[in-house]
Amino acid sequence: MNDLSPAGKPLFDDTAAQPAISARGLIKHFGAVRAVDGIDLDVPRGMIFAILGPNGAGKTTLMRMLATLSRPDAGTATILGRDLVGEPAEVRALIAMTGQFASLDEDLTGRENLLMLARLWGFRGRAAKARADELLAAFDLADAGHKQVKDYSGGMRRRLDIAASLVVTPGVLFLDEPTTGLDPKARKAVWRMIRGLADAGVTILLTTQYLEEADQLAARIAVIDHGRKIAEGTSRELKAQTGSGFLHVALADRERLDEAARFLEARFASPVQTSVEGAQLSVKAGSAQTANEAIAALIEAGIEPSDFSMGQPSLDEVFFALTGQGVESDPVVEDER
């Protein structure tokens, strides 16, 4: 994890023993609203750590504070051992942030964007050009380097945006909703990049409203809602909190979703989660046998399942169990999925 530099010498000598991020009681108000309401966070070095929550939960505010872009109203935090409030310049030298909206100059080409950042970090002349080209190649953008960013697709923009955060290998990389608005193929490409970065030893703190994303990428997940951390653990631990033995049912006729939900709710005396777009139902069923019997009863009642399976709860169900409500997703984002 410390062998980031060529000589095998740790990049951040003085901080080797420190966790990547350690935060205590962070609070940020916007007027009367507590956007972040007393969050503690411990992120070990080299980990992908996800902050999961619905829109407006305070994810971005928390991340902006940790990236020195916004001053906490209360609480303390250190990034690789440096004090967030007391030593912002030192923190900035160790971190990189990729915001929710591409922080790129749309009028310039991809290569010029990287060149600009390389020069700001202190690369000169040929070294800056070499660095820009190296990053373009690593992020599959070599062919697009001479196009203006305004002509890039969403996925290309995102990759360039992440590349722009890696001009100098950061100790901690903040990624705010790295795949929001991307199509599934572009999302997979970004995931691959993120895993590659973690393999190279970069600590990554990412926010997401996609439960699948946290599940796929993160070693640990903190679930936040209304500015508070409501749970934290590995994906497995969070699922264990909810219990196992979930029955997932897809219906042939989506018109009968509500009817089926009422039926299963009565049968298992447990809340049923529905997802309208896939005509899917999930409910805690306990054992395979009780699930089997429920399916049989459902068919008997004249409701035809098109598919069903037993499994661990999805993170959707975990979130549901923790907050008593589903994840309120942004409808626009839903459309793009």
Partner: protein, 269 residues
């Protein structure tokens, strides 16, 4: 797999360069401003069309009535329209800043360990270039129409130096507005609402002798009038050190007050 390797290679073995100087940071942002000319050359069209229209309309429509002949009027008007051009153009840089801020580009700059004022220094360099290019185009059109700077090349160079100072001072107003106002078009509306009376209630277009007393009192102390008087002196002859000092007073004051304000607003966001 080779992709993963390329990614790993791009992350490993990166020597952290030495932190560059504030000047070097500012030069990078200036380079960005120059690149904008290459990629968005049409911006110059926005900058020079209004002053060109003003020059043509005022010279040929009002010129004869105001100064006896269009030639005499152009001689009077041209140094002033250069001041107007620079002052109006400063609005566009405020709009540009507001656009950049809206896109999150400045969040990236702020999370970098660079001199905090460097992005603004870069914007300013871009502005100065825009001012010089626009002024050169308008002067060329003036020369074609018959304008003759009596002080020759030296006078023109001196007047352009003064224009740069005027643009620099005025620029801070719109950087502050760009930081305060979220939508670029509002920056433009607010900017022009404030600028129109200041520019028109000056001695750019007409000799204030026929204005009512209360208005003349304002016109006489209006910084735009002071700038125009100095510009006329530098280009047409008869500039005094006193006049140039008065013309520079407002830009200097604006810089002293608004440069720290800009930094404060930027860091506070």
């Amino acid at each position: 797999m080779s992709r993963t390797r390329a990614l790993a290679a791009a992350l490993h073995g990166v020597e952290r360069p030495r932190r560059p100087s504030a000047l070097s940071n500012a030069l990078v942002f200036a380079w960005r401003a120059v690149l904008k000319f290459k990629h968005v050359p049409e911006q110059l069209f926005d900058l020079v069309m209004t002053p060109i229209m003003f020059t043509l309309l005022f010279t040929f429509v009002f010129g004869g009535a105001l100064a006896g002949s269009t030639g005499d009027y152009l001689q009077f008007f041209l140094p002033g329209i250069l001041v107007q051009t620079v002052v109006f153009n400063a609005v566009y840089s405020g709009m540009g800043l507001s656009t950049d801020l809206g896109k999150g580009l400045f969040d990236r700059f702020r999370s970098l360990p660079v001199w905090p004022l460097a992005p603004f220094a870069g914007l300013m360099v871009g502005d100065m270039l825009r001012h010089l290019i626009a002024a050169a185009i308008i002067l060329t059109i003036g020369l074609i129409l018959g304008y003759r700077p009596e002080e020759g090349l030296v006078g023109v160079l001196a007047s352009f130096a003064l224009l740069v100072a005027i643009g620099f001072g005025t620029g801070w107003i719109f950087l502050v507005l760009g930081l305060l106002i979220r939508t670029p078009t509002t920056v433009m509306t607010v900017g022009f609402t404030f600028l129109f009376p200041v520019v028109f209630a000056s001695n750019i277009m007409v000799d204030p002798a026929t204005m009512p007393g209360w208005l003349r009192a304002f016109v006489d102390i209006n910084p735009v009038s002071l700038m125009t008087t100095a510009m006329r002196g530098l280009m047409n002859g008869g500039a005094t050190v006193h006049e140039i000092g008065l013309a520079l007073f407002a830009p200097a004051l604006l810089t002293i007050v608004l440069a720290p304000t800009t930094l404060w607003l930027y860091m506070r966001r």
